[in-house]
Symmetry: C2
Subunit: 356 residues, 2 copies
């Protein structure tokens, strides 16, 4: 891989690191960040690693008004023999560019961005926590910076990478979460931006998330926007259901995010010879399976949570307790294998783990 030539300005003061035993998610940031600017007609310029610092933008910058912004999320892990591993990072930068295309934002040099990320992580290697369930969360993102109040794609952009040492995404850790199926609000619809990793999808999700949270549920399971019956995803996770021995996940349809963990789970289940199918699945089918006693397991997959078992689904007034609210055996197997590969503890027959 070609190395991106960049300027490096090191911080003269190092931050006090938080206790790595009590990390929350996305609260602490490391000493440095990567910045790369784009100007129409000039292309990408001035790649640089600089001390972590505020961004300065004109109040009329496009990102504030018209939401032209894209992000990614991935993680770095420190192995027992002090190697740093990334999990399928090329997939993140590929998806970044798919999102860019949907938001009419300039194409990123994927190899250059990955090279910059590796250089940044080397500088910040002391920030990678090592306890089980911890990692260095990586947030590449791009924002439109042009100061102009017309609704059209901006002419200037800034791509950045920031890093955050993190613990479990849910306070439950690997313990099952409770999820409320949303019947009023909609996250995304076919033809919209649901399969792009862009801010508006998350903004749209907050209201339902707040209501679910007030009722004691960790997140919301979204249904499709057209018929309000087909399972989509859980905002920060794709979802899988084990029904009568077969694992089912909603097929990609344009409004569901193409999860990299989702893709990995499918490949892993195939490798393990556990039946897995991608297809449309309605909330009514889930409910019927539950009533028939064949809804055996449910779990979410995503970079932040990796695998998160679902112990309870609320649909309107019906509470469906899955596998007695405990993690199921397939969920556990998938979790152990994926996190094992990510941490370099388990054999990686797929070549997913990439050394920094």
């Amino acid at each position: 891989m070609k190395e991106l030539k960049l300027e490096v300005i090191l911080s003269t003061e190092k931050k006090q690191k938080p206790s790595f035993d009590h990390l929350e998610f996305g609260k602490y940031f490391t000493d440095h960040m990567f910045i790369w600017n784009y100007t129409e007609g000039k292309g990408w310029h001035d790649p640089r690693i600089v001390p972590y610092q505020p961004i300065t933008l004109d109040p009329a910058a496009t990102v504030f008004h018209y939401g032209q912004t894209v992000f990614e999320g991935l993680k770095a892990y420190m192995t027992k023999d002090e190697q740093i591993l990334l999990f399928r990072p090329d997939e993140n930068f590929k998806r970044f560019n798919r999102s860019n295309d949907r938001l009419v934002m300039p194409e990123l040099d994927e190899e250059g961005a990955l090279s910059a990320l590796k250089q940044l992580i080397q500088i910040e290697r002391d920030w990678i926590p090592t306890a089980e369930g911890t990692s260095l969360y990586i947030r590449p993102f791009m924002i439109a910076t042009e100061a102009f109040l017309g609704v059209h794609p901006a002419k200037t952009y800034q791509f950045m990478i920031i890093l955050s040492p993190v613990g479990a995404y849910y306070k439950e850790g690997i313990n099952p979460v409770k999820i409320a199926v949303e019947s009023e609000y909609v996250r995304a619809v076919a033809g919209g931006t649901g399969n792009a990793k862009t801010a508006g999808n998350y903004a749209a999700s907050l209201k339902a998330g707040e209501i679910a949270s007030e009722n004691g549920y960790s997140q919301v399971l979204w249904l499709d926007g057209k018929e309000n019956q087909y399972i989509e995803e859980v905002g920060s996770m794709n979802v899988f259901f084990k029904i009568n021995g077969e694992v089912i996940t909603p097929a990609l349809n344009g409004s569901i995010l193409e999860g990299i963990t989702r893709k990995s789970v499918i490949e892993l289940l195939n490798y393990m010879n556990i039946p897995i199918v991608e297809r449309k699945i309605s909330i009514h089918e889930i409910q019927q399976a539950y009533q028939d006693g064949v809804l055996e397991e449910a779990f979410g997959s995503g970079t932040a949570a990796v695998i998160s078992p679902i112990g309870e689904l609320l649909w309107k007034n019906e509470k469906m307790v899955i596998n007695n609210g405990e993690i199921g055996s397939v969920s556990k197997q998938v979790y152990d294998t994926l996190t094992g590969i990510q941490n370099g503890i388990k054999e990686d027959p797929f070549g997913w783990a990439v050394r920094v």
Copy 2:
């Protein structure tokens, strides 16, 4: 109205003003802006008018990643006798709070915000252009500023008002625009954020807008996200069709923005005894009316463009030229009356124009 007490720091240097004869839209900004901060547990604090300057935000600020942001748009006009008029500004701040609620953002003190706006405009009165079709565009907006990478509502926000002297929104001015009806992409769906004035809706619209622009169309007319056949709106405008003597505009359904100009047009048409109805209307009905020769006029309404006649609609491969591509008589009457009230030239039986 109670006056909001605020700090005023005047700019020591005044910008060179652009030529008011050649104003574009949203390109120039005045010397000052208004800022108001919100912190959970403390409420709104530190209202201030300061020199127009960049915003400084942590790279992890919620607005960059999860799109928690809301805005409004309204205009100030200078009358011939040097009075400054706003058009129904209370409606804008009411809608601001409806948008805030959808985005789980803190409620704004509407009266306080309007008071701040009036004080800001008094300071910037020399920036209000007077030529026909020009005005001072006002952009109140709020962004989530908390540095935290979890998907939840932020704990800190910044409300701001910036001002921009503007000419016509479309280069066509009051001349009819050509609009392409979108058949692939979707702006918003019921249950989503379509009726909130938030960044994600505009981000979602850019791709189709770009394609339309490449084909020579000014904007896109959106269809509903569920059945892809009912007329919604034109991103920056609501739409009206005159068919067989009756004016029809799509009924508010949760995914269409509740335009203040839209509301005013309806009230005005009722006042003028011109038949106006709000109801569902499909693209097929428009097409049929066109083929039957009874699609007499079409126009868009919005703060930026006020009234913009639609001279051509493209639906798949069919070009529908409306009223020979010329402004219709009802469109012209509505335009003249509305802009007349806004500029203080015409009688205002509704009490819409508010003196600053």
